[in-house]
Amino acid sequence: MSTTGKELPKILVFSTEKISDPAIDMAGLLKLHYPPRVYTIPIPCSSAVKPRWILKAFEQGFDGVFIAADGTDCPYGESCTEKTGEIIRRTQEMLKEKGIEPAKLRMAAICSVCSEAFVKHMKTFTEYLVKQKTT
C-alpha cells in the first residue's frame, strides 16, 4: 500500500473480552502486523453493540467499523451470531439513510485463536476503505 500512515483510514473494532480480544492480542504476540490505525473497544459480547455507538463512530470520523464477533464460540448463548447479524443489518439500514456506505460496517466471527484471520480482515478492510476514500 502506497498510502502513508497519516492518510490511512481509521477503523474501530468492537472486540469481545473472552473470545476475539485474545485473538487480537495473539496477533501482537506473533508479531503479525496490521495497520496501526485500528482501535479496539472490548465489550463482553458482540451482541451487546448498540447501533448508536456505531453511528457515533462514523459521525466522529471513523472510516470503518468492524465487529469481531463471538460467533458460535460465544460463552453467553447460542443465538449470538444471529443477534449480532441482526444488529449489523439494522445499523446498515440506518447508515443507508444517512448516506453512508453500509459496507463500511463489517462483521466476522473471530475465534480466540483467529489471529491471522483478524489481521487479514484488517488489511483487506483498510484496502477497501482506501479505495472508498480515493474514489
Binding site: 502486523h33 451487546a48 466522529q60
Partner: protein, 642 residues
C-alpha cells in the same frame, strides 16, 4: 466525573518502550483535564511500582486510575487489586493495552505505534472519568464439583477433591472408567499395568462417601455460572440390573450372536454387543451396546440381570465448579499415510495390544515378527497436516515398548525411523537402554520423512538417513508400527457445551500457561490432563491435582464475590416492549408494574452482564455499568480525533 486521575505507563522492560515512545505518550496525556499525575515505569507490575501506585492513590486522593501496559488478561487483576489497596474502588480503574495491541502488533511502525498508544491512553482516561464505583455481588457457592471424565486424571482429581471434603460428581461418557490408560498393559516408569493403576484409583473413589460416579453419562447443557452451575446430565442405560449375577452375565456374553470390531483393542479383535472390555474392568458389570444390539433376546434367555426396559435419564445437578478431564484420542492415520492400509502396518496402540496377546512368540496375522520398523511422528509434527505440535509422550512410549519386546521375545530387531528422539529429562535413560540393546536409529528431517511401500510379500521402509550422511537406506520389516500421536477428542461436544476455547493445536486452552495454567476463560471451569495438550501420566496427574486445587479454592469458602457488571433499566424511559426479555439468554428480565406503568426489571443475581439486551431496547433505556453510553462514546470520541 473523575478529576484526580493517576496515569501510569509501563515500559515493560523494553517490550513496550522499544517501539512506543513512552515519554511522548506521557507528555501527551499529562496536561489533560483531570489527570493529577502521570508517570512512566520500567515494570508497572513490579512490587515497588505497585506500592508506589497504591501510595499515590491514598496520598494524593486519586479518584481514577489508568495503567497502560500489557493485555488486561495478564494484569487487569493485578492493578485492580492495587487500586483497592490504595483505597480506590476497583471499577474506577481502566486498563489500557499498549503491548499486545500496540507495541507488539506495530513493532514495524514506531511512529504509528506511538500515535496509537497515545490515543488508547487518552481513551482510557476519558473512560475512567465516566466510571462509577460498584460493589461486588456476594453469592453462595455450592461446595460441590463436577469432574468430567473418569480417566486417570479425572479420577485422581475426584479423589483429591473428595478428600478435601467436597461433594464430587464424577461423570464418565463411557460405561467404564479408566479412559485411555485402561488400554495400557504396561506403563513406562512403573511396575504396574495401566489396568492396575485404574483399579487402585477406582477403589479409592468407589469407597469414598463424597464421590458419586455416573457412567454412560454426558453433560448436555450448562447453565448458571461460577459457584452455581446448573448442569444437565444425560445418562444412557446399561440394560443390566443392579442385582447382577456374574455367572449368568458371562453366559449372556457367550450367547450373544452379534460380533463387532472391538475398539477397545483398536479393532484388532472382535467383541459382542453385550460386553466388557476386560475382566477386571470397573464397574464390574457388562453393558449392552445399543447401537449394535439387535434385541434378539438370546441374552435375556440365559441371564436374569438383563433389563431392556431401562430408559435414558436426565439428571439436574448444581455444582460450584467444573473440572474437565476429558482426555485425548490417538491419531488415526489416513489411508496410505506411511503405508496405512497395508496388512502388516499397525499403530503403536494396536502394537501394544498385540504384545499383550502374544506370550512367548510375537505373532501378527499368523506370521512371526522379527524385524520391526517404528515410524515416529505419525500425526505429529506434520509438515502438511494440521498437527504442527509434538505429541510429547510417544518417543518414550515407543522406546519402552521396544525394550519390552526384547525382554519378552527372542531375536527381535528394531529399527526406529525418527525425526530426532525427544526423550526429555530422565526419560533419556530409556533411549540409552534401547541403544544398548542394539536398536537401530535412522533419522530424517521433518520435510523428508521415511516412506513405507509394499513390495510383493515384503513391506519396505526407506529413509534418507542423516545420521549416515544422507544415505538412502531401506529395511524390510515384518511389522511396521506407526507411532501415532495424541489428538484432541474428535467428539468434543462437552467442550462445546461448556464453551471452553481451543488453542491453535485444537486442544482446550488455559488462560495462561504459567500464570493460570489450569483455568479457562469460563470462570469456574478448570481443565486437566491430555484434553489440554499431550501429556504423559505423571504430567496429567500434576495437572489434575493442580486443577483440583484451583476448583477447590473457588468453592471451599462457600461464598463468592461476583463481578457487578450487570444491565440496568432506566425506569423513567422504559416503555416495556419486551424485547430485552426476549434477547436475554438467562431469563433475567421480567415485567413489573411500577407507578402504574409496565417496565422491565433485571434480576441482579441472574444477569451475567453479556449486554445482549442493550441494542434491542427501542427506547435505549438499558445501560450496563462499565459499558454505559457515556463510557463507550467518550472513548469513541477520543479515538476518532485526528
Amino acid at each position: 466525573m473523575k478529576s484526580k486521575i493517576g496515569v501510569y505507563i509501563c515500559h515493560c522492560g523494553g517490550n513496550i518502550s522499544d517501539y512506543v515512545d513512552v515519554n511522548k505518550v506521557r507528555e501527551a496525556v499529562k496536561d489533560i483535564d483531570g489527570v493529577e499525575i502521570s508517570l512512566d515505569t520500567m515494570f508497572a507490575c513490579a512490587d515497588s511500582s505497585q506500592t508506589q501506585i497504591a501510595n499515590d492513590i491514598s496520598e494524593k486522593k486519586l479518584d481514577g486510575l489508568v495503567v497502560a501496559s500489557c493485555s488486561p488478561k495478564l494484569h487487569y487483576p493485578t492493578f485492580s487489586a492495587v487500586a483497592e489497596r490504595g483505597g480506590l474502588n476497583k471499577y474506577n480503574y481502566v486498563h489500557a493495552n499498549i503491548r499486545e495491541q500496540v507495541s507488539w502488533a506495530h513493532s514495524d511502525d514506531k511512529a504509528g505505534a506511538t500515535e496509537k498508544a497515545i490515543k488508547i491512553v487518552k481513551a482510557a482516561i476519558a473512560r475512567v472519568k465516566e466510571s462509577v464505583s460498584l460493589e461486588p455481588i456476594e453469592i453462595k457457592a455450592e461446595k460441590s464439583i463436577a469432574v468430567l471424565g473418569a480417566g486417570v486424571a479425572g479420577m485422581r482429581a475426584a479423589k483429591e477433591l473428595a478428600d478435601l471434603g467436597m461433594q464430587v460428581y464424577l461423570i464418565e461418557r463411557e460405561h467404564f472408567v479408566g479412559g485411555r490408560i485402561s488400554q495400557l498393559d504396561y506403563l513406562c516408569g512403573a511396575d504396574e499395568t495401566g489396568k492396575e493403576l485404574v483399579t487402585q484409583l477406582y477403589e479409592k473413589i468407589h469407597e469414598h462417601p463424597n464421590v458419586t460416579l455416573f457412567t454412560g453419562a454426558e453433560v448436555i447443557k450448562k447453565g448458571g455460572s461460577i459457584g452455581n452451575f446448573k448442569i444437565k446430565v444425560k445418562i444412557t442405560p446399561r440394560y443390566i440390573n443392579d442385582t447382577c449375577n456374574k455367572e449368568e452375565l458371562l453366559k449372556a456374553i457367550e450367547v450373544c450372536p452379534v460380533e463387532v470390531e472391538d475398539d477397545f483393542n483398536f479393532n484388532i479383535t472382535k467383541r459382542k454387543a453385550i460386553y466388557r472390555n476386560y475382566d477386571s474392568e470397573y464397574p464390574q458389570k457388562p453393558t449392552i451396546d445399543n447401537k449394535n444390539c439387535t434385541r434378539c433376546g438370546e441374552c435375556e434367555k440365559v441371564c436374569s440381570s438383563i433389563d431392556f426396559s431401562q430408559k435414558e435419564e436426565i439428571l439436574d445437578l448444581t455444582v460450584g465448579s467444573i473440572l474437565a478431564a476429558t482426555g485425548f484420542d490417538p491419531y488415526q492415520p489416513k489411508e496410505n499415510e506411511f503405508g496405512w492400509g497395508i496388512e502388516n502396518v499397525v499403530t503403536l496402540p494396536q502394537f501394544r495390544r498385540i504384545i499383550n496377546m502374544c506370550d512367548d512368540k510375537l505373532v501378527y496375522q499368523g506370521k512371526e515378527i522379527k524385524n520391526i520398523a517404528y515410524i515416529y511422528c505419525v500425526g505429529s509434527r506434520q509438515v502438511d497436516g494440521d498437527n504442527k505440535y509434538c505429541s510429547r509422550y510417544c518417543c518414550t512410549a515407543t522406546l519402552y515398548t521396544s525394550i519390552l519386546t526384547h525382554k519378552k521375545y527372542k531375536g527381535i530387531k528394531s529399527f526406529h525411523f525418527n525425526r530426532g528422539i525427544r526423550t526429555y529429562g530422565k526419560q533419556e535413560v530409556i533411549y540409552d537402554e534401547a541403544s544398548q540393546l542394539g536398536d537401530i536409529f535412522l533419522q530424517s528431517y521433518e520435510y523428508d520423512p521415511a516412506t513405507v511401500e509394499e513390495n510383493g510379500d515384503k513391506t519396505t521402509v526407506k529413509i534418507k538417513d542423516i545420521l549416515t550422511g544422507g544415505q538412502e537406506l531401506e529395511v524390510d520389516a515384518d511389522l511396521v508400527v506407526l507411532v501415532t500421536g495424541m489428538e484432541p477428542r474428535n467428539d468434543c461436544s462437552i467442550g462445546d457445551v461448556l464453551k471452553i476455547p481451543k488453542g491453535r493445536d485444537r486442544f482446550y486452552n488455559e488462560i495462561h500457561m504459567k500464570l493460570r495454567p489450569v483455568e479457562t476463560v469460563i470462570d469456574g471451569v478448570t481443565i486437566a490432563g491430555a484434553c489440554q495438550g499431550p501429556k504423559n501420566i505423571m504430567e496429567s496427574m500434576n495437572s489434575a491435582l493442580s486443577a483440583a486445587a484451583k476448583s477447590y479454592s473457588i468453592v471451599n469458602k462457600g461464598e463468592l464475590a461476583l463481578e457487578p457488571i450487570i444491565a440496568k433499566v432506566d425506569k423513567d424511559t422504559c416503555i416495556w416492549c419486551g424485547k430485552c426479555a426476549e434477547a436475554c439468554p438467562y431469563d433475567a428480565i421480567s415485567m413489573i408494574k411500577e407507578n402504574g406503568k409496565d417496565i422491565a426489571e433485571i434480576n441482579e443475581s441472574v444477569c451475567k452482564g453479556c449486554g445482549m439486551c442493550l441494542p434491542v431496547c427501542e427506547s435505549d433505556s438499558i445501560d450496563m455499568d462499565g459499558f454505559t453510553n457515556k463510557e463507550i462514546e467518550s472513548m469513541i470520541n477520543v479515538l476518532a480525533m485526528s
